[in-house]
């Protein structure tokens, strides 16, 4: 479904991704593990078109999207949940969701269906986004991404800064999402990521150091020690 083929990405003169290759198949949750600054978010941003790779290609649904703009990728079905829970803080929860319906994305979702899927959000309907807790904001961003009718989702560090009890709820949501579409999950928290994933990649200094199944990753102590600080 998603194929990243040897991408090289820069931030100005800084050489960040130095040949990243990975793929995500239908029905899978694949995690991208690594320490802070390893290149996880940059990989996701390069896939999304936010920061185009200078070399290499990204294929989504067999189409080369390496140079395509972010909004076109979203309209193609690539959902993106950015790090830091990027919600519209001045808009209410309902408006945050309605923005997705206003952006010309073809969707089968309705506002009420979204509130049914995330019942915790119902009572926050008219609250401003900026007044929500971190976990609530994360839920709104995931719901907003769902409203764009994605065929696949990229999740960037969804657990960062959240309380353990919220992380648990979130892992349930992610597992539920898997029934509908594949997920590429960038995460620093290896325990959480491996719990929900089928396969994983380990990235360090912009290079993929290891790839394997969930079990292979869980049993490889050297990788855990060297690259994941678990």
């Amino acid at each position: 479904m998603l194929k990243v083929d040897d991408i090289h990405t820069y931030y100005d003169d800084s050489y960040i991704l130095q040949g990243v290759t990975l793929k995500v198949n239908v029905g899978e949750i694949v995690c991208l593990l690594g320490r802070n600054g390893a290149g996880k978010s940059t990989t996701l941003k390069s896939i999304m078109g936010y920061n185009h790779p200078r070399k290499g290609k990204v294929y989504f649904l067999d189409k080369n999207i390496s140079r395509q703009s972010v909004y076109k990728n979203v309209r193609m079905g690539l959902g993106y949940v950015p790090e830091d829970r990027r919600i519209f803080s001045e808009l209410s929860v309902q408006e945050n969701l309605e923005v997705s319906f206003s952006s010309a994305v073809e969707t089968q979702w309705t506002i009420d269906e979204l509130f049914k899927t995330f019942p915790l959000m119902e009572k926050l309907r008219h609250r401003k986004g900026g007044g929500l807790s971190g976990g609530e904001q994360q839920m709104v961003v995931i719901a907003r991404t769902l409203a764009c009718q994605p065929k696949m989702i990229l999740l960037d560090e969804p657990c960062e800064g959240l309380a353990p009890v919220i992380v648990e709820q979130l892992s349930e949501i992610i597992c539920r999402l898997k029934e509908h579409f594949p997920i590429l999950l960038a995460e620093q928290n290896a325990n959480f990521a491996l719990e929900v994933s089928d396969r994983g990649y380990v990235i360090d200094k912009g290079v993929i150091r290891f790839s394997g199944t969930k079990e292979e990753l869980q049993q490889n102590d050297e990788i855990k020690k060297r690259y994941l600080s678990v």
């Binding site: 990027r86 309605e98 952006s103």
Partner: protein
């Protein structure tokens, strides 16, 4: 429930305001009717401008160009003998809209000061054309309008030579224009525009084409500003290059800031405050802009949501408690 209450109260307040504006020529002196006409025209310009600043977060310093284009279109058509008022309105709107589409196409890819500077540059280009192309625009003397066309409506033949009848033409046109702008800002387009003001990157994450959204907003704003220009030409019997000067473009900015950029009616109230203050201060001194500056500083410092925006928030906060 709170949302319904706000809508209910907004509706009542709007109804009261419209009734007052409709009846005011019957009770206030003609001089103030003329002033009220000017407030309504500039209020329309400020509300149109605020579609950019208040909703899209774009500070344009070139709105005067579209106002001037509307005014010149009307003046040229009237001088050429066109007598259909609807046609003159339509032409003024279309010319301003087309110009806004072109200027917007080149400007909206930039943000903040860069956007402000490029709109200022375009505005001054239009000013230079109006100022120097004497054969067509009359140069610095401007284009005078001697005959105002009649309007045949529902079997009535309306003329606009008296300040009262001109007021009602302006009142009706501004009312319709504000209603249309209100529909725009309360549509899904208005919502996503507000989202672009907060963060354009996040809008692209939900599939929004930010550039296209901004171009559409800029074009709509330009079209309504052009309509305000047509009205001003009819009201003032004149189109002058000063309309296109950057200093004229600062007027809607000041009005929007005084009234409040965060509320739809804020800039309209800002226009009212601006002109009433001018009338009061000018009785004592010619340097009224100096005192406007003195007033503007505390407004920006202590009323970041503008006078109307602050009052509105206070009122609704108390209501929702």
């Amino acid at each position: 429930m709170i949302v319904l209450k706000i809508k209910y109260h907004t509706l009542i307040l709007t109804g009261i305001l419209v009734t007052l504006l409709f009846l005011s020529p019957l009770v206030i002196p003609v001089y103030w009717v003329i002033l009220l006409s000017e407030i309504l025209i500039m209020g329309l310009m400020a509300v149109s401008f605020n579609l950019l600043l208040g909703y899209a977060g774009l500070l344009s310093f070139g709105q005067g160009a579209f106002f001037g284009l509307g005014a010149y279109t009307a003046a040229l058509m009237l001088q050429a003998g066109y007598e259909n008022l609807f046609l003159i309105f339509l032409a003024g709107i279309l010319v301003a809209m087309l110009a806004a589409l072109i200027v917007g196409f080149f400007s909206v890819r930039l943000d903040e000061i860069f956007f402000a500077m490029i709109t200022l540059a375009f505005g001054m280009m239009f000013f230079s054309i109006a100022h120097n192309w004497r054969d067509v625009t009359g140069g610095s003397d401007g284009l005078p309008v001697f005959n105002l066309p009649n309007l045949q409506l529902f079997g009535l033949d309306l003329t606009f030579y008296s300040p009262i009848s001109m007021y009602y033409l302006i009142f009706t046109t501004v009312l319709i224009a504000l209603f249309l702008l209100w529909l725009v800002v309360h549509s899904p387009f208005g919502l996503i525009l507000k989202a672009t003001r907060e963060n354009k990157q996040r809008v692209s994450f939900v599939g929004g084409n930010v550039r296209k959204l901004r171009i559409v907003a800029f074009t709509i704003s330009g079209a309504f500003t052009g309509l305000a220009g047509v009205l001003f030409c009819l009201f003032n019997n004149m189109a002058t290059p000063e309309f296109m000067h950057w200093s004229f473009s600062t007027k809607p900015i000041i009005m929007a800031i005084i009234g409040g950029t965060g509320s739809f009616f804020g800039p309209l109230f800002g226009a009212g405050i601006f002109f009433v203050l001018e009338q009061i201060i000018i009785r004592y001194t010619e340097n009224w802009m100096f005192f406007l500056g003195i007033i503007l500083v505390p407004v920006v410092l202590f009323f970041p949501q503008g006078v109307f925006g602050t009052l509105q928030n206070r009122f609704f906060k108390q209501r929702s408690k």
